[in-house]
């Protein structure tokens, strides 16, 4: 094209040259590698070292994983299979143990015909959490279900008469009604005190007998399962969920107490929080396993899993209190002042203005506290509960599987990883979502 004008203007080009391809070293796989892997000598060394590390790890692990031992019935049987399959040096996993025991590792000793109950409980847990976690995608009517769920969850897991959770629920209704009546007739403070006191008395002394009486008249219930039957991964999840659910209200109270102007209340809360955060969970579990019965009235006795639940709940509430305190501190002061200027009293302001926002900001923190508590539930194996890690020892005490190490640890680690990783991804997603909401 340019040739037609060449005799008039010798050196001005009036048309675009067609775009040339960039040099081969800058695009495609090669260019990408130059940019991202070998941009300078230091990066090149790092890349080569990384590739070598990946190679060595995979070369050791993959043949081990790809081991034809899913049908193994004992460790020696696995070794024979491996030798027959030509895996040198019996180097290979013995997956038979996982095949035989995975149900036990997940459900513990829960009666096998009732497996649907924990499954239902955890599926419904998702449904109950949905309105809280994905508030923009789920109809808010589900919130009623969420409010009822704390009563459904233990009933599904532990079973027994349906009147027990209903009696527990009744405590709230009684307390709520009393509060409503008294706060109109007398003061809010009297209302709170009387309502709480009545509800506590109801739960402590009346709920169980009343539930018993109603049950004897109209027995509705499902098969009861003792908490001793809980084990494996299900035990970890149960401890984690119950501890977090129970610690949330306690944590809110502690956080408010820590921020309050009431000196005595503040110091009690600070003392509690700092004490719990200052000692390792394992010492609290020692308390659960050896001392909690000593602290209770003589003759009291409740089983170890409930005691562990109590201690882990206390543990989680101290951390929860700090998370919520962070949420409260992150709220702009204008919100408090706005609430005051509207003439709301302390509890109204907390309920209508402060808490909804503070809790929303705290959700990522709550999720990561949950992950932490959930991981820490493995510590219960040290006091003899059969969580996945404790079960792995019990399984290794079976003459068939004595000597198995990596398969069990690997399986347990994988279970925890899948669970915690998805939770932490969710929490990050939430953080991003919340951030845009606040800027």
């Amino acid at each position: 094209m340019s040739g037609t004008h060449s005799h008039t203007v010798a050196f001005v080009r009036d048309t675009m040259l067609p775009e040339q391809d960039p040099p081969a070293s800058e695009v495609g796989a090669v260019g990408w590698m130059r940019h991202n892997l070998f941009s300078n000598w230091f990066n090149s060394i790092l890349t080569i070292a990384s590739i070598a590390a990946i190679y060595f790890v995979l070369a050791a692990v993959i043949p081990w994983i790809l081991s034809p031992t899913w049908e193994g019935t004992s460790l020696s049987n696995c070794r024979e299979t491996l030798a027959a399959a030509g895996h040198g040096d019996a180097h290979g996993a013995c997956w038979g143990v996982i095949k035989e025991r995975w149900i036990q590792l997940i459900f513990g000793f829960y009666p096998s015909h009732l497996y649907w109950r924990p499954i239902a409980a955890f599926v419904l847990l998702g449904a109950a959490l949905a309105p809280v976690l994905f508030s923009d995608k789920v109809p808010s009517q589900l919130l009623i279900f969420s409010a009822l769920y704390p009563f459904i969850f233990p009933w599904l897991l532990w079973g027994g008469t349906i009147w027990m959770p209903i009696a527990a629920l009744a405590g709230f209704v009684i307390g709520g009604l009393l509060f409503k009546v008294l706060s109109e007739k007398a003061s809010t403070l009297i209302g709170v005190i009387v309502a709480v006191a009545t509800a506590v008395i109801w739960w402590l002394f009346l709920a169980a007998p009343v539930a018993g009486i109603v049950d004897s008249i109209l027995p509705i219930g499902i098969e009861a399962v003792e908490s001793r039957k809980f084990g494996g991964f299900m035990l970890s999840v149960t401890i984690g969920v119950v501890a977090i659910a129970c610690s949330l209200p306690i944590g809110i109270v502690l956080a408010l107490g820590r921020q309050s102007d009431l000196l005595i209340v503040k110091y009690i809360c600070v003392g509690f929080i700092e004490f719990i955060r200052g000692v390792p969970l394992i010492t609290l579990l020692f308390v659960a396993s050896t001392l909690l019965n000593i602290f209770m009235p003589p003759g009291t006795n409740f089983d170890i899993i409930l005691r562990v639940l109590i201690m882990v709940t206390l543990f989680a509430s101290a951390y929860m209190a700090e998370v919520i305190r962070g949420g409260l501190a992150a709220l702009p002061k204008g919100q408090y002042e706005g609430a005051d200027s509207l003439g709301l009293n302390y509890w109204q302001a907390q309920r209508l203005i402060i808490m909804p926002q503070a809790l929303k900001i705290s959700i990522p923190g709550i999720v990561s506290t949950f992950i932490g508590v959930f991981k820490d539930t493995t510590l219960v194996s040290i006091i003899g509960l059969l969580d996945p890690l404790g079960l792995s020892n019990a399984i290794r005490a079976d003459a068939n599987w004595n000597g198995i190490v990596w398969e069990l640890y690997g399986f347990i680690a994988l279970l925890f990883f899948v669970f915690c990783f998805s939770m932490s991804r969710y929490s990050m997603y939430l953080e991003r979502k919340l951030q845009t909401g606040h800027r």
């Binding site: 991202n36 394992i282 000593i294 493995t378 890690l389 680690a413």
Partner: protein, 422 residues
């Protein structure tokens, strides 16, 4: 100025305790206090009556009884005839050792990994992400037993070093033996040792102080002070004349020279481990349990520290980096001189709370048989004496004391580096 009339004197009525905001907070506090004390009294009462029923009144007398068990890693001299108190002390020292070692390693690893996660190298950044996610999402207890299992299963037993053509050999010119019982490294010995001072006589808290160590520390301190004087002099000369005299060789000589003389005078030499009987003898023995715990805690905590470091670096606005490169600084200098000093302010508080977590997690030593305070006081002592209440309470107090001291350091640091806002 306007004149103020006294507000009408109000008669105090009982109902004002509830309705008047001036008194109401007092009422709430009194109720809270009352409830709290009631709860405490109830717990203490229960405890006392239960203990009376069990026939085990609170009694710390068992601390002066002989412990009757051995502890493998002991920083002070200890035998099974020593008291339970001394056994607890050994445990406490072991806790502190693993906590300090763990914090140092975790910090180093965490900083490296955190920086590498931001690397422009795609592969390395991905690998580090995998590392962080892998360690953060699996319980630390599992990591501890995992690392222990790896050490036991993959390293050679001491017997592999035996024979004409051993399967395993010592590394670093026959000075270090890596076995599945631990790592044996050379130990410093003094052939003309000055001896020890024994402190606190025969009590359970007795300890020895090595005079050699004191001598070395004194000499080191003195020479550092002298070297500092040289630097100051150089500064003065620079201010006066504009020329800075070269002092590094003088300072090196001041620091190294006296130390060499002292070491020769004390007859310093290294004691190498050697295979004798069942085990390697001589040298310092870093036990498997220590290494497993130390490594697992460091790797686990490093994953958290890496995230903190990354967040800290990303919190520094990009303008800082750009300004620094506009000044012509190279990228490692930008990191060292501009980014890190600012990032540290964001990094340090969560870093210290991770140190706290590491220290508390060191109580999981029990899983690998490392005799920390949970293993001695909260383990064998509790088990042999049956004094659960005393042992667990004391154990909690010890950890609480450690935690509170770390928090105190954190608060002090926060005050010190707080941005002085005007």
């Amino acid at each position: 100025m306007s004149t103020l009339t006294d507000p009408p004197k109000e008669q105090f009525r009982l109902s004002m305790l509830l309705y008047d905001t001036r008194y109401r907070s007092g009422t709430i506090q009194v109720i809270a206090m009352f409830g709290f004390m009631l709860l405490a009294a109830w717990l203490i009462n229960n405890t006392l009556s239960n203990l009376a029923a069990l026939g085990k009144p609170i009694d710390f007398g068992f601390f002066s009884e002989p412990a009757s068990y051995d502890i493998n890693q002991r920083l002070l001299e200890y035998t099974s005839r020593d008291t339970h108190l001394r056994a607890a002390l050994m445990g406490l020292l072991n806790t502190l050792v693993v906590a300090v070692l763990g914090c140092i390693t975790a910090t180093v690893l965490g900083v490296i990994i955190g920086v590498l996660r931001l690397s422009s190298n795609w592969l390395v950044a991905r690998l580090m992400t995998i590392y962080v996610e892998m360690f953060r999402n699996v319980p630390v207890l599992l990591w501890i037993v995992f690392v222990m299992a790896i050490l036991i299963e993959t390293l050679p037993a001491p017997s592999a070093f035996r024979g004409e053509s051993p399967e395993a050999t010592m590394s670093l010119m026959d000075s270090v033996a890596v076995t599945n019982r631990g790592v044996y490294i050379p130990e410093p010995l003094f052939s003309r040792s000055l001896g020890d001072i024994h402190l606190l006589g025969q009590s359970s808290l007795r300890f020895d102080v090595s005079l050699d160590l004191i001598a070395i520390l004194v000499v080191l301190g003195l020479s550092l002070w002298a070297a500092h004087r040289v630097t100051l002099r150089a500064n003065r000369i620079q201010e006066a004349t504009g020329d800075r005299p070269k002092t590094w060789h003088v300072r090196t000589a001041i620091i190294v020279g006296p130390m060499l003389v002292l070491l020769i005078a004390l007859g310093f030499h290294l004691g190498y481990p050697a295979l004798k009987g069942f085990n390697f003898q001589g040298g310092t023995h870093l036990r498997n349990s220590l290494i497993a715990l130390w490594l697992a805690l460091s790797l686990y905590t490093a994953a958290f520290i890496a995230e903190i470091v990354r967040a800290g670096i990303m919190a520094i606005s990009k303008g800082q980096t750009e300004a620094a490169s506009a000044l012509g600084l190279r990228s490692n200098r930008i990191m060292r001189l501009v980014i890190l000093p600012q990032a540290l302010r964001v990094i340090i508080p969560p870093l210290i709370s991770n140190y706290l977590n590491l220290t508390k997690n060191s109580s999981l030593a029990i899983a690998v048989g490392y005799m920390d305070i949970t293993g001695t006081l909260g383990g064998i002592t509790m088990n042999q004496t049956g004094r659960e209440l005393e042992c667990v309470l004391l154990l909690m107090l010890v950890y609480l004391a450690i935690s509170l001291s770390i928090s105190a350091v954190m608060n002090w640091y926060n005050e010190a580096v707080k941005l002085k806002e005007r």
